[in-house]
Symmetry: C2
């Protein structure tokens, strides 16, 4: 089966050769284009390339957040790289992962040699953020009836607590761990650790989720440079190899699913990714996962196969997902602490993988990491994009 | 040079094996998802495939038009094809061309065998259409100061009239020809021919552009099935080959360009496309071009190399671009008469190429056509995507 799968991929091997991001947070003095250009210039400089052939920009809703679509062209213009091809891709909060995947395809197809994959979102410019984010849910059947994302994930949390005896404390442990990791990340929006008690007593948002269970509203940009492995070798600079790119979809509405406690888009994409890479979950040394809410990290770590179904909460509580644990999760601080400028998140996950796999993560370094996995998700799980990167 | 270029493309040869679209127009009884699903089911049925591996959706602004982002997942769900990967791509009015290009890359890379590329827009659902479309221009420097697209293209028209003595009548001839072609297209929004006098006396929109110089506000969807040429051969059904996919960008703002009368994104992308295909402009037998306004068709046919710079207006007047002329342009009716549901337009252009190249265009058939070119454009020319398809 493995040989069969591998034989299907006739394309070139693909590498990541440079990364750059802005600090995530409330970037009042920077516009959407400022943020993207800052991250992209850092990535270009970091990679050492003298040009790029093409670029992708992941943005969830330039239209609703700042009234700007045609994001690819805007960014190519302000980055000073026109007339190269520039395309925006959108998959709600998985837009960054989608941008990286399109860059992967373009390089794998042999059509371009060096492609920039970036993501950006400017969420603090005055738009109704909750309403804009709700455009990632089912507008006709969910949003119209009044629900938004904290409510959707609260239902997932309640169902998981009911079905698997997951506790309120276990949810809080995710936040505590991710804030601790984020405190060591200079680009994180929140660099302050939080205590279990602080999470447990935070303002209620949507029962059982409290303020510190929720990722914040953020501005930010992230970019990586993608090229063929052959080209990366010639550059003689650190690079990592992309050994899997997988994506899956599910019903847009949460109420249409067979289960509230399992994310099918995650397990389907993970299965494809492991097959493409010829790996199993236990081969993965660390992962960045889509912790838009604490419950999401618990469900996702189960559906990625890192823990048995129902034991994700216990894993967060017993330290299995901490740096130094069985499988460190969200060493960057995750969406929870690093911030969640929605279009940038998936690319920022790739950046954390690159930095860990090239040994540049400072005090949050995972030792002897060979394989890192990035799991980026849209909506309440209607889309999921997974990449596995390998140190070389 | 040609061999050098060709040798860069290591990927698989790519084919189009089936097409489907809705009627374009004011589709009051159909929602965004209804429209996309209708077009996609037709394309799947037309191609004869029993599944698709992945899909792309070109949509300019689901957010501003109908409050729905996460378009890829929504459409996969309602098409009944989840959990396959589904991604929305956006390049303003070139979103459809961008979706087709991403499908091309995914197949060329060997990552997927059968990919659906669709485009859709629902523009008549109550949004402020002029404001939503303006999100394709420079929000910070153009739109903020009050200009919208009719004004931008009116400036291009005035400059072209000044520089090349292009006449008001020549602009009108584009509309007359495209309405005549559209009258023969059952899927066109406007199937009524118009006279030169009607165009010349139509309500002024932005001097010199009158109502009949402008493409309409439309709902509509279009989809095509893309696969490798190897797979297409096995199916033993009609297919056409994709011999070039090229894209270019330019400044987002019209005022930043060196020239108002030439669209650099078009000439740069055309140059790349001709090189990839090993063709010159005179090898192309017919083309679908982005006539969002009559002046756009004139400028684009020059910048594609079909006519000398400045002679695009004369070509429209003397019949060179009519069916039976030197190079038939917009045999489908173009955006002007067929309609312009912005995200769907680029895919609908590919459909016209497929139907012409497989000899299924009925009374608007171009005789002995071997090569067709589709030129899809975003904004006032900040992005352009060109594909060349070959009959087999």
């Amino acid at each position: 089966m493995l040989n069969e799968m591998k034989s299907r991929f006739a394309g070139k091997d693909v590498a990541v050769i440079g990364v750059g991001m802005t600090k995530f947070g409330e970037l009042w003095k920077k516009s959407l284009r400022d943020i993207f250009v800052e991250a992209s210039l850092k990535a270009i400089e970091n990679s050492g390339v003298d040009h790029i052939d093409s670029m992708y920009v992941g943005t969830m809703s330039g239209g609703l957040f700042v009234g700007q679509e045609h994001i690819g062209a805007v960014m190519a213009d302000y980055l000073g790289v026109a007339p190269i091809p520039a395309t925006r891709v959108e998959s709600a909060c998985a837009s960054g992962g989608a941008a990286f995947r399109q860059a992967y395809f373009e390089v794998a197809s042999g059509h371009s040699e060096i492609v920039l994959a970036g993501g950006v979102e400017k969420m603090t410019d005055g738009a109704d953020v909750t309403e804009a984010l709700a455009a990632a849910a089912d507008q006709e059947y969910e949003v119209y009836n009044g629900i938004t994302f904290p409510g959707l994930y609260a239902m997932i949390a309640r169902a998981h607590m009911h079905q698997y005896k997951t506790t309120r404390e276990q949810l809080a442990h995710v936040a505590v761990k991710n804030h601790k990791n984020g405190s060591m990340n200079p680009n994180a929006q929140f660099r302050s650790p939080v205590t279990l008690e602080q999470v447990m007593k935070a303002t209620m948002v949507a029962d059982p989720l409290r303020l510190l269970d929720c990722s914040p509203v953020s501005d930010g940009g992230a970019a990586v440079i993608v090229c063929s492995v052959d080209y990366a070798k010639k550059l003689k600079k650190p690079y990592v190899k992309v050994v899997a790119s997988a994506q899956a979809s599910d019903t847009i509405a949460l109420h249409s699913r067979e289960s509230l406690t399992a994310l099918k888009c995650v397990s389907v994409a993970a299965d494809k990714a492991y097959k493409q890479a010829g790996l199993k979950p236990s081969d993965i040394n660390f992962a960045e996962v889509h912790d838009c809410f604490t419950i999401a990290e618990i469900v996702v770590t189960e559906d990625l196969g890192f823990f048995e179904k129902g034991l994700g909460g216990a894993a967060a509580e017993n330290g299995s997902t901490a740096i130094g644990g069985k499988i460190p999760i969200n060493t960057s601080g995750g969406l929870k602490s690093k911030g969640h400028p929605v279009g940038a998140t998936g690319v920022a996950q790739i950046i954390e993988l690159y930095e860990q796999l090239t040994g540049n993560s400072g005090e949050r370094q995972v030792k002897n990491a060979k394989y890192g996995l990035a799991q980026n998700m849209g909506g309440s799980g209607a889309s999921c994009i997974i990449h596995i990167l390998e140190a070389v």
